[in-house]
């Protein structure tokens, strides 16, 4: 006759699972970069400029946004490029065409800036 172990192993197993889940969530959360909220297009593109210049030191001073974006396209498949290009067009219309402030979200531009910075850090090993 098999001795009954009672609910103890199941509780231990569940606790174990919970501890692992918390650990995994912690790891994922630590790797995820929180996206700062940016409403000013000059700030968003300023952030992107700093990241691009740091990550691509061979880029000459005379680069334009379209040239830079053509070069960094493909850095991350999860970047929504049509959104980035549409935001750039809105930014250009605002900056050079006296148009309205970009109505769409600037989050994709900020995300791109952070992705470039992260890749650059990984590349530099710090």
């Amino acid at each position: 006759m098999a001795a009954s172990l009672g609910p103890t192993p199941l509780i231990v197993l569940a606790l174990d699972g919970a501890v692992y889940a918390i650990l995994m969530l912690g790891i994922v959360a630590s790797r995820r970069v929180s996206l700062p909220r940016v409403d000013d297009p000059n700030v968003a593109f300023g952030l992107l400029e700093k990241s691009v210049m740091r990550a691509y030191p061979d880029l000459k001073d005379g680069f334009t946004w379209r040239e830079a974006l053509a070069r960094i396209k493909g850095i991350d498949a999860r970047i929504d490029w049509p959104n980035v290009m549409a935001t750039l067009a809105e930014y250009e219309a605002y900056k050079y065409g006296n148009g309205d402030r970009p109505a769409g979200s600037l989050s994709e531009v900020v995300r791109l800036a952070l992705k470039i910075r992260m890749k650059d850090r990984i590349g530099r090993g710090n």
């Binding site: 334009t64 946004w65 900056k95 050079y96 006296n98």
Partner: protein, 311 residues
């Protein structure tokens, strides 16, 4: 509507000229910006055909003058001829009185003939013996020259070159394009399939729209920095003139318009810097001898890489 017109023009010209989309677009930019264009390349690479096809597309009056060393200014602008019937001198208009004047092999004519074009190119009028006549509108000079000819040619002086808004360099076509050219030339070249895509009224409307394309102060400052660098670059003898920079702004407006924008962005300026500026700057002879200045195009590209555009 704009992009559609541009594409239609490229398509119509493409019916007779193969593989010259970039060159056709630049000629269109010069036309919309009310400038003149210098087509440079070896003989037999569709320069003349492109000019003819382009004017057919826009339904413009086209005249061609083959420049030769024995030409006189009268052969271009016209002159007074004694009329035996009324015993008076009548003004006979020369071929410059057209919408598109093709000055074929312009560097074969002596400087006084080349100079006969100056007033027309700058002020759209000609003056002969105190008699001034306005040229038709629109008026555009499309000149061609072969840069590899050294005998029996008169290189265009800087002042004349400065009148050309754009210089478009024609390279040899690549293999596939050349095959297509050969295939098309098995039968006679016929311009009749080209259909005019715009009326004179529509052209006038487009001109006024191009003129209203916005150029921000930041873009103007950028242009000013570029001009300054062409003048201070030690390998350059003669930098870009103020007229060159005015032409660059006008061409950038037309370029932006063709891209469907009513404002100029730095990319428009960068795309046109070489065609607008390279033929106007003169390189220091010592730099050429030392090998530090490959050519004007390379120097303009270097300058464009050095000057930070607004971002």
């Amino acid at each position: 509507m704009v992009a559609e017109t541009s594409e239609r023009l490229l398509k119509e010209v493409g019916k007779v000229v193969v593989g010259r989309e970039r060159e056709t677009r630049l000629v269109l930019v010069a036309f919309l910006a009310r400038g003149h264009v210098l087509l440079e390349g070896v003989p037999g690479i569709s320069k003349t055909l492109l000019a003819r096809a382009f004017s057919s597309c826009l339904g413009l009056e086209f005249k061609r003058v083959q420049f030769t060393p024995d030409m006189m200014p009268l052969d271009i602008v016209g002159g007074f001829v004694f009329n035996l019937k009324n015993r008076e001198f009548d003004f006979r208009r020369g071929p410059i009185f057209s919408n598109v004047l093709l000055a074929d092999e312009i560097n074969r004519a002596p400087p006084k003939v080349q100079s006969a074009l100056l007033e027309g190119m700058q002020e759209c009028q000609v003056t002969i013996e105190g008699h001034t006549e306005l040229l038709p509108s629109p008026f555009m000079v499309v000149a061609t020259e072969n840069p590899f000819e050294f005998h029996g040619v008169y290189p265009l002086p800087e002042g004349q070159l400065d009148r050309f808004m754009l210089r478009v360099v024609f390279d040899y076509p690549d293999g596939l394009v050349e095959s297509e050219i050969l295939k098309r030339n098995l039968r006679d070249i016929d311009l009749s399939p080209i259909e005019p895509i715009m009326s004179n009224e529509q052209i006038a409307e487009v001109f006024s729209k191009v003129k209203s394309v916005r150029v921000s102060d930041e873009i103007l400052d950028y242009l000013s920095s570029l001009a300054k660098l062409t003048r201070t670059e030690e390998r350059v003898n003669l930098g870009a003139s103020p007229r060159a920079m005015v032409h660059l702004v006008q061409a950038a407006r037309a370029f932006a318009f063709l891209d469907g924008r009513d404002y100029v962005i730095p990319d428009d300026v960068k795309a046109l810097a070489v065609p607008v500026l390279a033929h106007r700057i003169s390189i220091e002879q010592s730099a050429i001898l030392k090998g530090s200045a490959p050519d004007a195009t390379a120097i303009i590209r270097e300058i464009m890489e050095k000057v930070k555009p607004p971002r």
